[in-house]
Protein backbone atom coordinates (compact mmCIF):
# COMPACT_ATOMS: atom_id res chain seq x y z
CA UNK A 1 0.00 0.00 0.00
CA UNK A 2 2.70 2.45 1.07
CA UNK A 3 4.73 1.41 -1.96
CA UNK A 4 1.83 2.33 -4.19
CA UNK A 5 1.31 5.67 -2.46
CA UNK A 6 4.98 6.50 -2.90
CA UNK A 7 4.76 6.23 -6.67
CA UNK A 8 3.67 9.31 -8.61
CA UNK A 9 -0.14 9.35 -8.63
CA UNK A 10 -1.84 9.09 -12.02
CA UNK A 11 -4.07 11.95 -13.16
CA UNK A 12 -7.27 9.93 -12.74
CA UNK A 13 -6.55 9.58 -9.03
CA UNK A 14 -5.17 13.05 -8.32
CA UNK A 15 -7.60 15.06 -10.49
CA UNK A 16 -10.84 13.80 -8.87
CA UNK A 17 -9.28 14.25 -5.39
CA UNK A 18 -8.38 17.86 -6.25
CA UNK A 19 -11.94 18.31 -7.55
CA UNK A 20 -13.31 17.10 -4.19
CA UNK A 21 -11.64 20.10 -2.52
CA UNK A 22 -14.46 22.21 -4.00
CA UNK A 23 -17.37 20.51 -2.18
CA UNK A 24 -15.21 19.91 0.92
CA UNK A 25 -14.63 23.64 1.47
CA UNK A 26 -18.23 24.49 0.63
CA UNK A 27 -19.65 21.92 3.04
CA UNK A 28 -17.26 22.65 5.85
CA UNK A 29 -17.81 26.40 5.94
CA UNK A 30 -19.31 27.87 2.76
CA UNK A 31 -15.87 28.73 1.38
CA UNK A 32 -15.15 29.06 -2.33
CA UNK A 33 -11.95 27.27 -3.26
CA UNK A 34 -9.20 29.76 -4.07
CA UNK A 35 -5.58 30.21 -3.15
CA UNK A 36 -4.21 33.44 -4.61
CA UNK A 37 -6.43 35.50 -2.28
CA UNK A 38 -4.14 34.38 0.53
CA UNK A 39 -1.47 36.66 -0.96
CA UNK A 40 -3.87 39.58 -0.75
CA UNK A 41 -4.76 38.77 2.85
CA UNK A 42 -1.06 38.64 3.69
CA UNK A 43 -0.61 42.11 2.13
CA UNK A 44 -3.63 43.41 4.04
CA UNK A 45 -2.23 41.97 7.27
CA UNK A 46 1.37 43.10 6.86
CA UNK A 47 1.48 46.24 4.72
CA UNK A 48 -1.94 47.71 3.92
CA UNK A 49 -0.29 51.16 3.46
CA UNK A 50 -3.68 52.86 3.29
CA UNK A 51 -4.36 51.27 -0.12
CA UNK A 52 -8.13 50.78 -0.46
CA UNK A 53 -7.62 47.31 -1.98
CA UNK A 54 -5.98 46.17 1.26
CA UNK A 55 -8.26 47.94 3.70
CA UNK A 56 -10.64 45.25 4.85
CA UNK A 57 -10.94 42.94 7.78
CA UNK A 58 -8.49 40.24 6.67
CA UNK A 59 -9.03 38.40 9.95
CA UNK A 60 -12.41 37.30 8.63
CA UNK A 61 -10.59 35.57 5.78
CA UNK A 62 -8.07 33.84 7.98
CA UNK A 63 -9.38 30.42 6.92
CA UNK A 64 -7.52 30.97 3.64
CA UNK A 65 -4.21 31.50 5.46
CA UNK A 66 -4.81 28.31 7.47
CA UNK A 67 -5.49 26.53 4.18
CA UNK A 68 -2.19 27.61 2.56
CA UNK A 69 -0.26 26.82 5.76
CA UNK A 70 -1.80 23.35 5.44
CA UNK A 71 -0.58 23.09 1.83
CA UNK A 72 2.94 23.88 3.03
CA UNK A 73 2.69 21.18 5.72
CA UNK A 74 1.27 18.76 3.13
CA UNK A 75 4.26 19.43 0.88
CA UNK A 76 6.57 18.68 3.79
CA UNK A 77 4.81 15.42 4.69
CA UNK A 78 4.61 14.21 1.10
CA UNK A 79 8.30 14.95 0.50
CA UNK A 80 9.52 13.47 3.79
CA UNK A 81 7.32 10.41 4.16
CA UNK A 82 5.72 9.61 0.83
CA UNK A 83 8.28 10.63 -1.73
CA UNK A 84 9.16 8.65 -4.79
CA UNK A 85 12.86 7.75 -4.64
CA UNK A 86 13.38 7.69 -8.41
CA UNK A 87 14.06 10.66 -10.69
CA UNK A 88 11.20 12.60 -12.29
CA UNK A 89 10.17 10.93 -15.55
CA UNK A 90 9.77 13.45 -18.33
CA UNK A 91 8.94 13.32 -22.01
CA UNK A 92 12.04 12.35 -24.04
CA UNK A 93 11.71 15.41 -26.27
CA UNK A 94 11.68 17.72 -23.26
CA UNK A 95 14.72 16.01 -21.74
CA UNK A 96 16.55 16.32 -25.06
CA UNK A 97 15.81 20.05 -25.18
CA UNK A 98 16.72 20.54 -21.50
CA UNK A 99 20.20 19.12 -22.05
CA UNK A 100 20.95 22.02 -24.40
CA UNK A 101 20.25 24.42 -21.50
CA UNK A 102 22.37 22.44 -19.06
CA UNK A 103 19.33 21.12 -17.17
CA UNK A 104 20.15 17.49 -16.43
CA UNK A 105 19.20 16.99 -12.78
CA UNK A 106 15.84 15.22 -12.39
CA UNK A 107 16.20 14.41 -8.70
CA UNK A 108 13.55 16.78 -7.44
CA UNK A 109 10.22 18.04 -8.72
CA UNK A 110 11.74 21.53 -8.71
CA UNK A 111 14.80 21.38 -11.01
CA UNK A 112 17.92 22.08 -8.96
CA UNK A 113 19.74 23.37 -12.04
CA UNK A 114 17.33 26.29 -12.29
CA UNK A 115 15.84 26.90 -8.84
CA UNK A 116 18.59 27.07 -6.25
CA UNK A 117 20.00 29.85 -4.06
CA UNK A 118 23.17 30.37 -6.15
CA UNK A 119 20.98 30.75 -9.25
CA UNK A 120 19.72 34.03 -7.76
CA UNK A 121 23.07 35.53 -8.73
CA UNK A 122 22.36 34.92 -12.43
CA UNK A 123 20.16 36.93 -14.78
CA UNK A 124 18.28 33.75 -15.70
CA UNK A 125 17.61 32.91 -12.07
CA UNK A 126 16.41 36.42 -11.22
CA UNK A 127 14.07 36.55 -14.21
CA UNK A 128 12.63 33.11 -13.48
CA UNK A 129 12.31 33.26 -9.69
CA UNK A 130 11.84 36.96 -8.94
CA UNK A 131 10.29 38.08 -12.26
CA UNK A 132 8.14 34.95 -12.45
CA UNK A 133 6.94 35.45 -8.88
CA UNK A 134 6.00 39.08 -9.56
CA UNK A 135 3.98 38.01 -12.62
CA UNK A 136 2.23 35.28 -10.64
CA UNK A 137 1.24 37.69 -7.85
CA UNK A 138 0.29 40.62 -10.05
CA UNK A 139 -1.41 38.52 -12.74
CA UNK A 140 -3.54 36.38 -10.45
CA UNK A 141 -4.88 39.37 -8.56
CA UNK A 142 -5.50 41.36 -11.77
CA UNK A 143 -7.36 38.33 -13.16
CA UNK A 144 -9.23 37.91 -9.87
CA UNK A 145 -8.00 34.40 -9.19
CA UNK A 146 -5.57 31.65 -10.11
CA UNK A 147 -5.83 28.09 -11.36
CA UNK A 148 -7.80 27.06 -8.29
CA UNK A 149 -10.17 30.05 -8.11
CA UNK A 150 -10.88 30.32 -11.82
CA UNK A 151 -9.94 27.09 -13.61
CA UNK A 152 -11.29 24.76 -10.92
CA UNK A 153 -13.81 26.64 -8.74
CA UNK A 154 -14.97 29.06 -11.47
CA UNK A 155 -15.41 26.41 -14.15
CA UNK A 156 -17.09 24.08 -11.64
CA UNK A 157 -19.63 26.84 -11.07
CA UNK A 158 -20.00 27.35 -14.86
CA UNK A 159 -18.66 30.90 -14.82
CA UNK A 160 -18.00 32.29 -18.29
CA UNK A 161 -15.42 34.86 -17.04
CA UNK A 162 -13.46 31.95 -15.54
CA UNK A 163 -13.40 30.22 -18.91
CA UNK A 164 -11.98 33.36 -20.55
CA UNK A 165 -9.44 33.69 -17.73
CA UNK A 166 -8.40 30.03 -17.98
CA UNK A 167 -7.89 30.39 -21.74
CA UNK A 168 -5.76 33.49 -21.04
CA UNK A 169 -3.65 31.57 -18.48
CA UNK A 170 -3.00 28.85 -21.04
CA UNK A 171 -2.29 31.33 -23.86
CA UNK A 172 0.24 33.17 -21.66
CA UNK A 173 1.90 29.90 -20.68
CA UNK A 174 2.12 28.64 -24.26
CA UNK A 175 3.72 31.92 -25.38
CA UNK A 176 6.40 31.97 -22.69
CA UNK A 177 7.15 28.24 -22.65
CA UNK A 178 7.54 27.98 -26.41
CA UNK A 179 8.76 31.40 -27.50
CA UNK A 180 10.55 32.98 -24.53
CA UNK A 181 12.02 30.16 -22.43
CA UNK A 182 14.19 28.70 -25.25
CA UNK A 183 16.10 32.02 -25.25
CA UNK A 184 15.90 32.71 -21.54
CA UNK A 185 17.19 29.28 -20.54
CA UNK A 186 20.32 29.82 -22.64
CA UNK A 187 21.29 32.92 -20.61
Amino acid sequence: MLEWIKQPWPWYVAGPLIGLTVPALLLVGNKSFGISSSLRHACAACLPANIPFFKYDWKKEIWNLFFVAGILAGGLIAAQLLSNPGPVQVNAKLAEEMVTYGVTNYEGLVPKDLFAWPELLTARGIIMMVGGGLLVGFGTRYAGGCTSGHAIMGLSNLQFPSLITTISFMAGGFIVANLVLPFLLKL
Binding site: G70, L76, A78, L120, V130, V136, Y142, A143, L184
Partner: protein
Protein backbone atom coordinates in the same frame (compact mmCIF):
# COMPACT_ATOMS: atom_id res chain seq x y z
CA UNK B 1 -40.11 28.14 10.07
CA UNK B 2 -38.80 31.60 10.47
CA UNK B 3 -35.81 30.64 8.40
CA UNK B 4 -37.93 30.36 5.30
CA UNK B 5 -38.99 33.98 5.48
CA UNK B 6 -35.56 35.23 6.39
CA UNK B 7 -33.55 33.51 3.72
CA UNK B 8 -34.80 35.39 0.65
CA UNK B 9 -34.09 38.70 2.40
CA UNK B 10 -30.50 37.84 3.14
CA UNK B 11 -30.12 36.52 -0.38
CA UNK B 12 -31.43 39.74 -1.87
CA UNK B 13 -29.26 41.93 0.33
CA UNK B 14 -26.30 39.83 -0.55
CA UNK B 15 -26.76 40.24 -4.28
CA UNK B 16 -27.52 43.96 -4.14
CA UNK B 17 -24.30 44.38 -2.31
CA UNK B 18 -22.44 42.31 -4.84
CA UNK B 19 -23.50 44.21 -7.93
CA UNK B 20 -21.67 47.27 -6.63
CA UNK B 21 -18.24 45.95 -7.36
CA UNK B 22 -16.55 44.54 -10.44
CA UNK B 23 -13.72 42.79 -8.68
CA UNK B 24 -14.71 39.25 -7.94
CA UNK B 25 -12.34 38.98 -5.03
CA UNK B 26 -13.76 42.00 -3.26
CA UNK B 27 -17.25 40.70 -3.75
CA UNK B 28 -16.42 37.25 -2.55
CA UNK B 29 -14.66 38.71 0.45
CA UNK B 30 -17.64 40.79 1.36
CA UNK B 31 -19.92 37.87 0.73
CA UNK B 32 -17.92 35.74 3.11
CA UNK B 33 -17.94 38.52 5.72
CA UNK B 34 -21.70 38.62 5.34
CA UNK B 35 -21.90 34.94 6.19
CA UNK B 36 -19.27 35.01 8.83
CA UNK B 37 -21.07 37.68 10.82
CA UNK B 38 -23.75 35.17 11.72
CA UNK B 39 -21.37 32.67 13.21
CA UNK B 40 -18.90 33.33 15.94
CA UNK B 41 -16.64 30.37 16.04
CA UNK B 42 -13.42 30.38 18.05
CA UNK B 43 -10.31 30.81 15.91
CA UNK B 44 -9.21 27.22 16.21
CA UNK B 45 -12.20 26.15 14.13
CA UNK B 46 -9.98 27.21 11.23
CA UNK B 47 -7.78 24.17 11.75
CA UNK B 48 -10.20 22.19 9.63
CA UNK B 49 -9.07 24.32 6.69
CA UNK B 50 -5.46 23.55 7.54
CA UNK B 51 -6.30 19.84 7.36
CA UNK B 52 -8.00 20.35 3.99
CA UNK B 53 -4.91 22.27 2.84
CA UNK B 54 -2.63 19.51 4.09
CA UNK B 55 -4.45 16.86 2.06
CA UNK B 56 -4.47 19.18 -0.95
CA UNK B 57 -0.71 19.76 -0.57
CA UNK B 58 -0.01 16.02 -0.44
CA UNK B 59 -2.03 15.52 -3.65
CA UNK B 60 -0.18 18.36 -5.41
CA UNK B 61 3.18 16.78 -4.60
CA UNK B 62 2.20 13.18 -5.32
CA UNK B 63 0.61 14.06 -8.66
CA UNK B 64 3.77 16.06 -9.48
CA UNK B 65 1.60 19.10 -10.19
CA UNK B 66 4.26 21.15 -8.41
CA UNK B 67 6.92 20.03 -10.87
CA UNK B 68 8.34 22.63 -13.24
CA UNK B 69 8.90 19.78 -15.73
CA UNK B 70 5.21 18.78 -15.73
CA UNK B 71 4.20 22.39 -16.41
CA UNK B 72 6.67 22.62 -19.30
CA UNK B 73 5.26 19.38 -20.75
CA UNK B 74 1.76 20.82 -20.47
CA UNK B 75 2.62 24.02 -22.33
CA UNK B 76 4.52 22.08 -24.99
CA UNK B 77 1.72 19.52 -25.43
CA UNK B 78 4.18 16.76 -24.55
CA UNK B 79 2.06 15.07 -21.90
CA UNK B 80 -1.59 14.54 -21.12
CA UNK B 81 -0.97 14.39 -17.36
CA UNK B 82 -1.78 18.01 -16.39
CA UNK B 83 -4.77 18.16 -18.74
CA UNK B 84 -6.05 14.97 -17.15
CA UNK B 85 -5.56 16.34 -13.62
CA UNK B 86 -7.23 19.71 -14.28
CA UNK B 87 -9.92 18.22 -16.53
CA UNK B 88 -10.99 15.52 -14.08
CA UNK B 89 -10.80 18.00 -11.16
CA UNK B 90 -13.18 20.33 -13.01
CA UNK B 91 -15.50 17.44 -13.89
CA UNK B 92 -15.75 16.36 -10.23
CA UNK B 93 -16.08 19.99 -9.10
CA UNK B 94 -18.88 20.66 -11.60
CA UNK B 95 -20.80 17.57 -10.54
CA UNK B 96 -20.38 18.52 -6.86
CA UNK B 97 -21.59 22.08 -7.38
CA UNK B 98 -24.51 20.78 -9.44
CA UNK B 99 -25.52 18.37 -6.66
CA UNK B 100 -25.14 21.04 -3.94
CA UNK B 101 -27.32 23.47 -5.91
CA UNK B 102 -29.87 20.88 -7.00
CA UNK B 103 -30.48 19.49 -3.51
CA UNK B 104 -29.83 22.79 -1.72
CA UNK B 105 -27.31 21.06 0.51
CA UNK B 106 -26.27 23.07 3.56
CA UNK B 107 -22.96 23.33 5.36
CA UNK B 108 -22.16 21.19 8.38
CA UNK B 109 -23.32 24.18 10.47
CA UNK B 110 -26.63 24.16 8.62
CA UNK B 111 -26.01 27.39 6.73
CA UNK B 112 -27.04 27.73 3.09
CA UNK B 113 -24.15 27.41 0.62
CA UNK B 114 -23.79 30.49 -1.53
CA UNK B 115 -22.25 31.00 -4.94
CA UNK B 116 -21.13 34.30 -6.35
CA UNK B 117 -21.31 35.02 -10.07
CA UNK B 118 -18.17 36.48 -11.55
CA UNK B 119 -18.34 39.46 -13.86
CA UNK B 120 -16.16 39.60 -16.94
CA UNK B 121 -13.64 42.45 -17.04
CA UNK B 122 -10.47 43.21 -18.97
CA UNK B 123 -8.41 42.02 -16.02
CA UNK B 124 -9.53 38.46 -16.72
CA UNK B 125 -7.62 38.64 -20.02
CA UNK B 126 -4.67 40.93 -19.18
CA UNK B 127 -4.13 39.50 -15.73
CA UNK B 128 -4.71 36.00 -17.07
CA UNK B 129 -2.00 36.41 -19.70
CA UNK B 130 0.45 37.88 -17.16
CA UNK B 131 -0.17 35.01 -14.75
CA UNK B 132 0.27 32.58 -17.66
CA UNK B 133 3.71 34.11 -18.35
CA UNK B 134 4.64 33.68 -14.69
CA UNK B 135 3.24 30.15 -14.54
CA UNK B 136 5.49 29.03 -17.42
CA UNK B 137 8.55 30.71 -15.86
CA UNK B 138 8.14 29.49 -12.28
CA UNK B 139 6.34 26.24 -13.11
CA UNK B 140 4.01 27.02 -10.23
CA UNK B 141 0.71 28.67 -9.52
CA UNK B 142 0.14 30.02 -6.00
CA UNK B 143 -0.88 26.69 -4.41
CA UNK B 144 2.17 24.78 -5.65
CA UNK B 145 4.45 27.61 -4.44
CA UNK B 146 3.51 26.73 -0.85
CA UNK B 147 3.84 22.99 -1.51
CA UNK B 148 7.25 23.45 -3.18
CA UNK B 149 8.57 25.31 -0.14
CA UNK B 150 7.18 22.60 2.15
CA UNK B 151 8.79 19.89 0.02
CA UNK B 152 12.19 21.43 0.69
CA UNK B 153 12.84 23.84 -2.19
CA UNK B 154 13.63 26.70 0.18
CA UNK B 155 14.65 29.11 -2.59
CA UNK B 156 10.99 29.25 -3.66
CA UNK B 157 10.49 31.48 -0.59
CA UNK B 158 11.99 34.18 -2.86
CA UNK B 159 9.38 33.44 -5.55
CA UNK B 160 6.56 33.48 -2.99
CA UNK B 161 7.81 36.78 -1.59
CA UNK B 162 7.96 38.19 -5.15
CA UNK B 163 4.37 37.05 -5.67
CA UNK B 164 3.39 38.94 -2.50
CA UNK B 165 5.14 42.03 -3.85
CA UNK B 166 3.36 41.53 -7.21
CA UNK B 167 0.01 41.38 -5.42
CA UNK B 168 0.87 44.54 -3.47
CA UNK B 169 1.89 46.37 -6.68
CA UNK B 170 -1.44 45.40 -8.22
CA UNK B 171 -3.26 46.84 -5.20
CA UNK B 172 -1.25 50.04 -5.46
CA UNK B 173 -1.95 50.62 -9.18
CA UNK B 174 -5.39 49.04 -9.25
CA UNK B 175 -7.35 52.26 -9.92
CA UNK B 176 -5.12 53.13 -12.91
CA UNK B 177 -5.36 49.73 -14.60
CA UNK B 178 -7.99 48.93 -17.25
CA UNK B 179 -10.70 46.63 -15.90
Amino acid sequence: MNLNTQEPISEKKHHEFLTENTDFEVRSLDAVCFNESELNHPWWYNFKYAIAGLLFGVILVKAEVISWFRIQEMFRLQSFHMYGVIGSAVAVGMLSVFIIKKFKIKTIYNEPIEFVDKKLNKGNIYGGLLFGFGWALTGACPGPLFAQIGSGATVIIVTLFSALVGTWIYGYFREKLPH
